[in-house]
């Protein structure tokens, strides 16, 4: 059974569409594009799509992925694959587009298992850029970063410092905030681990400084750590990359 991995983005108004709705959009998009998706067995068969870590509603992204299992006659030769990004993008809503499609090993680990971290560009709204710079330096200098969250009705505390792979802030490009307040917006780049669980951007923000808040968040990458200590994005170096 052939398995495709699709890389797509989500920008503009459609960022307000929830992950659950994105799943439904993909089901319709693949049907419209004539891609024959395999269905699960059972009483209520579902198309066999599997997504990576859900993008929170309201965030933009250049690095969304989904895996699609195809019916035996789902697609034909390699030419079909190279035409897919254009074909699918035409059927997606404005603001969503496919950047790459590749055939992957049907037995490869799922996106949820394989992805080890995500890079986020976070526009931080704050009173002044120095506050953010100070908060970032403080955070990076301490050995632990304790967050409290509720899980199954119980308060648990946890150190997310090991999952904070990197954190950078560029105070030189502070912009007036567009929310009408007299605050400024400072871009911050954070790489947050996803295993054993994905750290969420609001958790990082809360741990940084209660006075700063996320204003506009954009996922720029999802990463898979490889055995040799390197990392790569989830697309194999083949398929449409070559076709281009």
């Amino acid at each position: 059974m052939r398995r495709l991995r699709i890389e797509f983005n989500k920008r503009g108004k459609v960022r307000f569409v929830s992950h659950r709705d994105v799943v439904r959009i993909w089901e319709r998009t693949l049907r419209r594009a004539g891609v024959r998706v395999a269905y699960s067995e059972g009483f209520s068969p579902r198309p066999r799509l599997s997504f990576g870590f859900a993008l929170p509603t309201g965030y933009e992204s250049d690095a969304e992925y989904l895996d699609v299992r195809l019916e035996p006659d789902g697609l034909h030769g390699p030419n079909d694959i190279s035409a897919l990004p254009m074909l699918l993008s035409q059927q997606l809503p404005v603001g969503m587009a496919v950047s790459e499609v590749a055939v992957i090993d049907p037995s490869a680990p799922s996106l949820q298992q394989a992805v080890t971290s995500c890079t986020w560009r976070i526009e931080v709204a704050c009173v002044n850029a120095e506050t953010v710079v100070a908060a970032v330096q403080r955070t990076l200098s301490v050995g632990e970063l304790i967050v409290t969250r509720t899980r199954k009705g119980e308060q648990i505390t946890e150190d997310i410092r090991p999952l904070l792979r990197s954190l950078e802030v560029d105070a030189t490009v502070a912009m007036p905030s567009s929310d009408g307040s007299n605050r400024v917006c400072v871009p911050m780049i954070a790489e947050l681990g996803t295993q054993p669980r994905a750290v969420r951007v609001p958790e990082l923000m809360a741990a940084l400084d209660p006075s700063v808040c996320e204003h506009h968040v954009h996922r720029t990458h999802q990463w898979i750590n490889t055995d040799n200590g390197l990392r790569a994005d989830p697309m194999p170096l083949s398929a449409t990359a070559e076709a281009k």
Binding site: F16, D21, R32, G180
Partner: protein, 655 residues
């Protein structure tokens, strides 16, 4: 052309955008649906804002609104955009930021449109109507509007008695809107071109009242005699005394929606819909939709097939609903279904209104191969006697045959829909619901270990233009007693679940259903005290309605529970759905005598008025009723139950 560009300087998107991360389900405010248009504008054209006064999820699938959206956007002299009631969380933010109601297409301010036209499908949305008008920045009372304000129009089934909201709307459209929206546009065109000059609004409305199917409440005077209406008279000689509904004679000429909107977020009925016919002559006496949409107008089977296949290809949906008031009655139904599912075995066909017989279930088994949900049947009443009263002529055997067929073909759960509080209903009739449910479970046991039947009970609200329009609605206490009776009886019935509609909500629907213009301050009171989204159980506020009635001197008993006399001038006496009052009154007397009435699609005409009055007729491809069951034709195909049928003498009202 899609709509996600924000070049329009009239758009409020840049102010709205920062609010959206703070509200639930923000996707309902972004538009961007497949099928949405970004209308070409020139400053002369008439801009319509088609608004559904409930949430996006409820309003978006509304086919009437989508049909008018396309028809108006195809015109060179008009444009149409859409709006829906913002949920309470966004409303608070909009009011705080001083932002108005907006269109989801280009996020323009509602107040910038020439017409704001609402679809009214349920009485409990009336307070949302006021809220949307107010959020648009327009005075809620029509007599306080300025010349340049948008015209506020309403259409939809509730407008067959628009009197409770008469003071809030400028015009009302009765019946099918396909043709009349164009006629209204043409009239407004000249008025707008001349600059909407001061003092011209009432003259415009007077001209509008002369368009067939358009009712302008301000052109009529209502005189009272004590609590009763003495008469309803036009203020001017050129204003018609009776406003007749509009009826599209041939659905084939209106293959809309051609590009059904595909929302990005989940909505109710999230699937392709193809309307296979309009109107119904089964003659169920409680059913307003069946009475006001006569005659039956079938879409040609060939067109249905084309709309299905093009619609599925374009939208990517895997489900198509064939809509009508009783889809199994469509002449070409079997062939249409066979053609649809041979094309693609992953496609499901939904028949939202399943007839109660084994034949129909066989069809359902064929069409739900891909995804099988529960089956819903609507016997409506628990005993044959009661079903003769309401003219839903299905026998117990029809139901058992349908249920047996469903269990034998693999269904596990079934839902049975009933009304309680029907005219002449006795406790035996109510308990008949329990007997039917128990027997259905019993039938299921021969096929499955633990079959399940859900009994859903709604309180009956008498509606205008039905034979039951004279009937005094049961009190909420009586409805509660009947529901309790049923629950007690079914307490120890394994496999039967009982669900019911809140009798308090039924009461409030009853107030508005047959109310008159004196209810305007009541609706305004409820709206002003934050009584919006009354369709939603978490928002519904019974006590507020009762308080509003008391404060404004309106008697609930008088409006809701009182039997009307035949000589009484009903609040909708100046409106017409074509039905002769004689016919309705005779049908009411027949109901009380437990006499059924045949379906006139397949039997000689009894002249209800819906065809003869407008020189139109049924458009059906088959002159014979479909096979199976007793079919509500009055012909008892099982021979188990004698059906009393009346050949109808002419009887005058009041005799």
């Amino acid at each position: 052309m899609t709509t996600c560009a924000d070049a329009d300087p009239a758009s409020v998107w840049s102010q709205l955008e920062p609010l959206l991360p703070r509200v639930q389900k923000p996707a309902r405010y972004i538009g961007c649906e497949d099928g949405a248009v970004s209308p070409e504008r020139h400053n002369k054209q008439i801009n319509w804002l088609l608004t559904y006064p409930d949430t996006y999820e409820i309003g978006l699938p509304n086919q009437g609104l989508q049909i008018l959206y396309e028809i108006l956007n195809e015109r060179l002299d008009a444009s149409a955009e859409r709006s829906y009631a913002p949920w309470t969380d966004l409303e608070v933010l909009l009011r705080r930021e001083g932002l108005p109601l907006f269109s989801v297409d280009t996020h323009r301010k509602a107040g910038d449109f020439d017409v704001i036209a609402f679809n009214l499908s349920a009485e409990l949305t009336y307070t949302n109507l006021l809220n949307c008008i107010n959020l648009a920045g327009v005075a809620v009372r029509s007599n306080q509007r300025r010349d340049a304000d948008p015209l506020i129009g309403v259409g939809g089934h509730c407008t067959y008695n628009p009197e409770p909201i008469a003071d809030f709307v400028d015009f009302v459209v009765l019946g099918d809107g396909e043709e009349v929206v164009g006629e209204i546009t043409e009239l407004l065109f000249d008025w707008k071109a001349a600059g909407k000059n001061s003092g011209t609004r009432s003259g415009l409305l007077r001209c509008m009242s002369q368009i067939a199917g358009v009712y302008v409440p301000s052109m009529y005077e209502v005189a009272y005699n004590g609590p009763h209406i003495a008469e309803i008279t036009p203020r001017y000689s050129d204003v018609p005394e009776i406003i007749e509904k509009r009826t599209v004679a041939d659905l084939a000429e209106w293959p809309y929606p051609k590009r059904q909107l595909v929302p990005l977020t989940e909505v109710v009925h999230d699937r392709l819909s193809v309307e296979v016919f309009r109107g119904c002559t089964r003659g169920c006496r409680f059913c307003q939709a069946g009475m006001i949409t006569r005659p039956v107008r079938e879409r040609p089977a060939e067109q249905v097939r084309a709309m299905i296949s093009e619609g599925l290809d374009r939208t990517g949906y895997d489900e198509v609903a064939l809509t009508s008031l009783s889809t199994a009655d469509f002449s070409g139904i079997e062939q249409v279904i066979a053609d649809t599912i041979t094309d693609n075995d992953r496609i499901s066909v939904a028949l939202p209104s399943l007839r109660v017989d084994a034949f129909t279930v066989g069809m359902a088994a064929q069409i739900q191969r891909a995804r099988r949900t529960g089956l819903t049947f609507a016997p409506e009443a628990g005993t044959w006697r009661m079903r003769q009263v309401v003219n839903k002529l299905i026998s117990d055997e029809d139901l058992y045959g349908a249920v047996e067929s469903a269990y034998s073909q693999g269904w596990r759960r079934m839902k049975l829909y009933f009304l309680t509080g029907l005219p002449t209903e006795t406790d035996d009739d109510t308990l008949g619901i329990a007997r039917l449910a128990r027997n259905c479970v019993e039938i299921g046991r021969t096929y499955r270990r633990s079959p399940s039947v859900t009994v859903s009970v709604g309180g009956f609200v008498p509606k205008p233009f039905t034979p039951f329009q004279w009937f005094g609605q049961n009190t909420a206490a009586e409805l509660k007693r009947k529901i309790q009776l049923l629950r007690n009886d079914l307490r120890r019935a394994p496999g039967v679940r009982v669900k019911w509609h809140d009798p308090a909500a039924t009461l409030v629907e009853g107030i508005a259903s047959r109310g008159d213009r004196r209810l305007a301050p009541v609706i305004e009171y409820v709206w002003k005290h934050s009584g919006t989204f009354q369709e939603w159980s978490e928002c519904f506020n019974h006590d507020l309605w009762i308080e509003a009635m008391e404060v404004n001197g309106c008697d609930v008993d008088w409006y809701v529970h009182r039997h009307r006399k035949p000589e009484e001038t009903l609040p909708w006496a100046h409106l017409s759905a074509g039905l002769h009052k004689d016919f309705l009154w005779q049908d009411w007397r027949d109901a009380l005598d437990e006499l059924g009435l045949e379906d006139c699609r397949w039997t000689p005409c009894y002249d209800c008025g819906a065809c003869t009055g407008y020189s139109i007729e049924h458009r059906v491809a088959s002159a014979t009723p479909p096979a199976g069951g007793s079919q509500g034709t009055g012909v008892d195909l099982y021979g188990a139950v004698p059906v009393n049928l009346q050949s109808r003498p002419q009887v005058r009202v009041g005799l």
